[in-house]
């Protein structure tokens, strides 16, 4: 019961305030919808205490997410590399401002101490900065001029593959997530990502930072829910060009890779993901197509 203020000062007993809790929703096409199926599922901390209910995406949410990603692809892939780098750096800035929130969410989701969580948040922010820097540089590393036996200037350029479907790592809720989506975005792809099933909340909060980072709507689309339910639809979707199975256990990857083979998707299924190590450029090179141009000389 709210108590009546006495004169100009409130009574000693503070009014009890109803907490405003966040609804953890999907992020599709720059908007935050609930699942079209109306489903949600409980997310708990490692001890089993309820943290929140997250949206449980259906295959139709996935379909909508792929449509949004396809629609956003033209704009994002044609943005200059310099501009993409600026946007990715902006994401790092936005995350920095929410540092405390991410630390608290990681502690809740993964357990462990605040120090470890803080280190993970810092590493995630740094990872955006790392890839932002690579944005206008990887083409020089991955592409280049080729010596050919003829009067031609021959050069190869990496171009984005298209829509990349990603299953994010299950353990590391924030750093793992950033480590798989950032490289795909850096090279100009658009992304549909399924967050960790048990620990989706930090990734959902990250999308709130993305929404204020000048990242065009639809460039990254987040689904939360059951990987087992969503991954087959992602793998078989004919409008998805690449598949990143980092978050799928090795034993479950074969049927997904087979479904992806039907449309000749690029499939990335790394044995391990070392989050502590410097990322290198292997993930940047994973989801690009190489275009080679023969330019006549002496004309």
């Amino acid at each position: 019961m709210p108590s009546k203020p006495a004169g100009r000062t409130r009574t000693a007993q503070p009014a009890e305030r109803v907490a405003v809790r966040k609804t953890y929703k999907l992020y599709i096409g720059g908007a935050f919808p609930r699942s079209e199926s109306g489903r949600s599922y409980p997310v708990t901390d490692p001890a089993g205490t309820l943290l929140a209910h997250a949206a449980q995406a259906s295959r139709k949410d996935l379909r909508d997410a792929v449509t949004a990603a396809r629609k956003a692809f033209a704009g994002w892939s044609r943005a200059t590399a310099y501009n993409r780098g600026q946007v990715l750096y902006r994401i790092a800035e936005m995350m920095e401002g929410r540092r405390e929130q991410f630390i608290a969410e990681i502690v809740a989701a993964e357990g462990g101490g605040a120090d470890a969580a803080a280190a993970q948040v810092d590493a995630a922010v740094d990872r955006w900065v790392w890839y932002a820097g690579w944005s206008d540089k990887y083409a020089q590393v991955v592409g280049g001029a080729n010596p050919v036996a003829g009067p031609y200037f021959n050069f190869s350029l990496p171009e984005p593959s298209g829509v990349v479907g990603i299953v994010a790592p299950q353990e590391s809720s924030l750093l793992g997530f950033v480590s798989v989506v950032a490289p795909a975005l850096t090279t100009g792809n658009t992304v549909v990502v399924v967050a960790s099933s048990q620990r989706p909340l930090p990734a959902v909060s990250l999308t709130e930072a993305l929404a204020t980072s000048d990242l065009p709507g639809g460039v990254l689309n987040l689904l939360t829910g059951s990987v087992d339910e969503l991954a087959p639809w992602l793998a078989s979707h004919r409008d998805v060009n690449c598949l990143d199975l980092t978050g799928v256990p090795a034993a479950d990857r074969v049927p997904l890779a087979q479904a992806a083979a039907d449309t000749v998707k690029r499939v990335l299924a790394p044995a391990t993901l070392d989050l502590a190590a410097e990322p290198g450029t292997s993930r940047l090179a994973a989801f690009v197509e190489t275009k080679t141009v023969w330019h006549p000389l002496g004309v």
Binding site: R70, W233, S236, H237, R238
Partner: protein
């Protein structure tokens, strides 16, 4: 002004039950009396009814049937200033065989082009069963002298068009010159000869549903074989409430005269979901009798691609993408 209703197909089969209708077209005053005597449309009610029909869920085998039916009802259309004979030829190829990988996909109903490209389309489509429709009468504005419009129609028919999509003079209709619009439709119908006549009402410019109902009846009385929503050049084009009112008009016209006329929805229908909703509406408002390419059509270009993608989804079980259908 006297209106020669005897020249129209509306009069031929009109029996005694339709005596009132024959009178309606006798002169300007009786036409006005009839059209303004039509019951007004409850706009809120029409929108609610259209929205309620859109909530039906059509799945699995019913969806497969609806997709194939919708494909058979498509008037594959290209009406751009940049159209070329080559583009029309490729469109005709697609009309006859929408999916190169799957011969079980039915052909579309017709190809709709500008009059000067009719000959090209006729040549490619000979023997396929796909009709060639042509827009005419100074499409899309309809702002030309009647003589010019009739020449436009005659040339399209001479080139081999079996269906003519004419536009009404919206300016005349909105200023209440119903007889002028009526006479024009009658004259165009005559110029069509054996070709089917679709009368484009351009409902986006008629403003109210009451006007849509009046224009629908006017076109039906004057002998239009189809009433068609839009040119596709004006927004809004086909909307569910407009479709509802037009379907009611053909249903009521058939009830009073025994003659079954068609409805063509054109413009803005791009997804299978929308198309299936309209099929539900046809079935519920007009009746099952109208679920046929002879009496219901979709004027569309991009709709066919979405129908094919949804068909792929049903046959393969995987979501399809635009990479697997032709661009035009």
């Amino acid at each position: 002004m006297s209106i020669a209703l005897s020249q129209t197909s509306a009069s031929g089969a009109v029996g005694t039950a339709a005596a009132g209708l024959a009178d309606a077209g006798r002169d300007d005053a009786s036409l006005r009396r009839f059209l303004h005597g039509l019951p007004g449309v409850d706009q809120v009610g029409a929108e609610a009814r259209a929205a309620a029909l859109a909530t039906r869920s059509i799945k699995t085998t019913a969806k497969a049937w609806a997709i194939d039916t919708a494909i058979r009802m498509v008037d594959l259309t290209t009406l751009e200033g940049s159209d070329t004979a080559g583009k029309v030829r490729s469109l005709c190829g697609k009309a006859a065989r929408p999916d190169p990988w799957d011969a079980s996909v039915p052909a579309v109903a017709a190809v709709c082009v500008y009059p000067d490209l009719v000959a090209t389309a006729v040549q490619v489509l000979r023997g396929t069963g796909v009709q060639v429709a042509s827009v005419a009468t100074a499409f899309p504005s309809g702002r030309a002298a009647l003589a010019t419009k009739l020449v436009d129609v005659a040339e399209a028919v001479a080139a081999g068009a079996s269906e003519i999509d004419m536009v009404i003079d919206r300016g005349a209709f909105l200023s209440g010159q119903y007889a002028k619009v009526f006479d024009e439709i009658v004259a165009v119908k005559q110029a069509c000869g054996s070709a089917h006549l679709k009368v484009i009402l351009e409902t986006g410019e008629l403003v109210t549903l009451d006007s849509v109902r009046r224009a629908s009846w006017l076109a039906l009385l004057a002998g239009g074989d189809f009433i068609k929503t839009s040119t596709g050049k004006v927004s809004p084009a086909a909307t569910p409430p407009v479709a509802l009112v037009m379907l009611q008009a053909v249903r009521d016209f058939a009830a009073r005269t025994g003659e079954v006329r068609g409805v063509k929805l054109a413009g803005g229908i791009r997804t299978t979901k929308e198309a299936v909703r309209y099929l539900v509406m046809v079935n519920e408002v007009a009746g099952q009798r109208w679920l046929d390419p002879a009496t219901f059509r979709f004027g569309a270009s991009s709709l066919l691609n979405d129908l094919l993608q949804q068909r792929h989804k049903l046959t393969t079980g995987a979501y399809d993408g635009p990479d697997y259908v032709s661009i035009d």
